[in-house]
């Protein structure tokens, strides 16, 4: 490991780049905003998937709950734009966490493939229920309030907002993984029976880990829903076969169970996806399926894992 001063310098340089990016490349602001969203996706998936060994295909559930909760609050609370956005985002995070806390003990008792398929079902069921529920707009979705301000300012506002969410997620996870909590969930991943025999309250820790994941996903959902301005149940909020799988893929591509792996994976993935979108128009979804297959079969250790092995 490098000395603390050089590490601080590296973080400062990264922060500077991230802060200056929308001013340097204004036409790519939306793409870069999506990059931060992808970083949050990968990081939150990795808490439960990589560090705890519970491979979820349905984490997108909390993202969708966050997006819808925020939009409903904004529609009904009657405050000004920024007031309702703040309240909505807070409540969205709360709603996501609550959902994880309620579902956690039952769902997280499932192991391995049963957990994977069960969470997959959870995400898709949520999408179909949302698509049929009139109160939240049904299949035609919900429109979030208009941002009061200039066009460029809107993009930058949401860029910084999602940047804050991503940094917050990263900092929290860095702090958690460095301490007892990280060790505990790693113990659950390595051998759950032994961890339980050692006196770790596995159900509680698993649920808390899922709640942390859901908290940040709820935040991200609220902000991303507003950034897009339109919340659609199947293609955006509960998009199991895009965002739901991408989360897994990004964490895996970067290296599961590492702090930086998901961040790197998200960057590489996002660039790949943009390239697909630009050069394979119409075929990008086909290419994405192939990409998932190739990464899962040939590159399961990920970039960070590969470097560690090579060293």
């Amino acid at each position: 490991m490098s000395r603390p001063s050089t590490r601080a310098a590296r973080y400062a340089a990264l922060a500077l780049v991230a802060l200056a990016a929308p001013w340097l490349l204004p036409s790519y602001t939306t793409q870069m905003t999506f990059l931060w969203l992808m970083v949050v996706f990968a990081l939150t998936w990795d808490i439960v998937g990589g560090q705890m060994g519970y491979n979820s295909f349905g984490n997108v559930l909390f993202f969708g709950i966050g997006a819808y909760a925020c939009a409903v609050v904004q529609r009904d609370c009657g405050l000004g734009y920024f007031g309702s956005l703040a309240l909505g985002t807070a409540l969205a995070a709360l709603a996501g966490t609550l959902a994880a806390a309620i579902l956690g003990p039952g769902i997280l008792a499932l192991r391995g493939q049963y957990f994977a398929i069960g969470t997959l079902g959870l995400g898709i069921a949520a999408a179909d229920i949302a698509a049929g529920w009139r109160y939240i707009g049904g299949g035609s979705g919900m429109v979030t309030p208009l941002f009061p301000g200039a066009v460029g300012a809107r993009e930058r506002f949401f860029y910084y907002l999602l940047l804050v969410v991503a940094v917050l997620t990263f900092a929290t996870l860095r702090w958690l993984y460095a301490g007892r909590f990280g060790l505990t969930i790693n113990a659950i991943r390595d051998d759950e029976e032994k961890a339980e025999a050692m006196g770790i309250r596995t159900t509680r820790h698993k649920t808390v880990a899922w709640c942390i994941s859901a908290l940040f996903l709820g935040l991200a959902g609220a902000v991303a829903g507003n950034m897009l301005g339109f919340i659609e149940p199947r293609e955006f909020a509960f998009a199991g076969s895009t965002y739901g799988v991408w989360m897994v893929l990004m964490a895996m591509l970067g290296g599961r169970g590492t702090l930086w792996g998901p961040v790197i994976g998200a960057c590489v993935f996002h660039i790949t996806q943009e390239v697909f979108w630009t050069y394979l128009l119409g075929w990008q979804r086909v290419a994405m399926g192939l990409f998932i297959l190739v990464v899962a079969v040939y590159f399961p250790r990920g970039i960070v894992g590969w470097f560690r092995q090579a060293r």
Partner: protein
């Protein structure tokens, strides 16, 4: 929920729902049996199972459009899918057979997205169906109708299931497949070419899916995004019935068909998919909680 009173007022409607459910359940059970076969022998959960069904349906659809009668097109779809799946095994699946289940789930999920988007890209996302040219039977003064094509699907699924059971019991390759499922290493020591067995198992599963897909295309509809629901239904049936339990697979297939028909009738058709996926979660969690009473969990 308003339909609930309708059910008690006209009890004959129950008969209709039950019949429809059991007839569709046979096809679900067939697909689930294929999934159980692959799962048991290759230790691989095939998320692309539903897409294989769809591909079979599209083969029949295009054969019929080219002027073929629908029923003889079903065995052709089975043969085509067997070849496709055999090729898939040789190209990519053989690499994930002995990896952990998560890798196989993610890889076959990628395969499922690939096939689904390929269909969408090549043939569009329209809902398709095949005109079977068969009529309907009427019972109870026309209150209960059974489309003959559903009966054909039911009988076809039953025949295929019986054929499969005979094959696994009597045929040399079938015996090798069962030996590999029981103990791969011992089978290898005794001279079974497990790689060939895996390829054959995957191809047989493809044939089952192809035939089932043909029946689905004739009886109901197919469109590119409906694949995953067949995967989930099969998974559910296998979880309830257990691996290698044929009677259980048939019973839970029929049960699922009936439950789905009732849910579609009571909640409205737009909630039918939501019902299938919610039921999956409920069944998994419920069965797991049941096992936890004995300090066990689903393995």
């Amino acid at each position: 929920m308003g339909n609930l009173t309708l059910l008690s007022d006209a009890p004959v409607l129950n008969l209709q729902l039950l019949l429809d459910g059991i007839l569709v359940g046979a096809v679900f059970a067939l697909v689930a049996y294929g999934m159980a076969l692959v799962w048991g022998v290759m230790k691989l959960i095939n998320v692309a199972q539903g897409e294989f069904v769809l591909l079979g349906g599209y083969v029949v659809f295009f054969l019929v459009r080219a002027g073929m009668p629908p029923l003889p097109a079903v065995p052709i779809a089975a043969a085509v899918m067997a070849i496709v799946c055999w090729a898939l095994y040789r190209v990519v699946i053989f690499r994930i057979v002995e990896k952990d289940l998560f890798t196989s789930i993610l890889a076959t999920f990628g395969l499922s997205i690939l096939i689904q988007q390929l269909i969408n890209q090549l043939y569009g996302s329209d809902v398709r169906t095949v005109e079977s040219g068969l009529g309907s039977l009427f019972f109870a003064h026309g209150m209960v109708t059974v489309a003959e094509v559903k009966l054909v699907a039911f009988v076809g699924a039953g025949l295929l299931g019986a054929l499969l059971v005979w094959f696994l019991r009597q045929h040399r390759l079938g015996q090798a497949i069962r030996a590999t499922a029981q103990n791969t290493r011992a089978a290898r020591i005794l001279g079974v070419d497990t790689d060939r067995v895996y390829a054959a198992t995957f191809a047989i599963n493809g044939a089952i899916c192809g035939a089932a897909g043909g029946l689905v295309a004739m009886t109901w509809t197919i469109h590119p995004y409906s694949g995953l629901s067949y995967t989930v239904r099969s998974f559910m049936i296998v979880v309830v019935a257990g691996l290698g339990n044929l009677a259980g697979v048939i019973a839970s297939g029929a049960g699922l068909g009936v439950a789905e028909n009732y849910a579609g009738f009571l909640l409205g058709a737009e909630y039918q998919t939501a019902f299938v996926f919610s039921l999956l979660v409920v069944i998994l969690v419920g069965r797991n909680l049941w096992l936890m009473r004995q300090r066990k969990y689903l393995k």
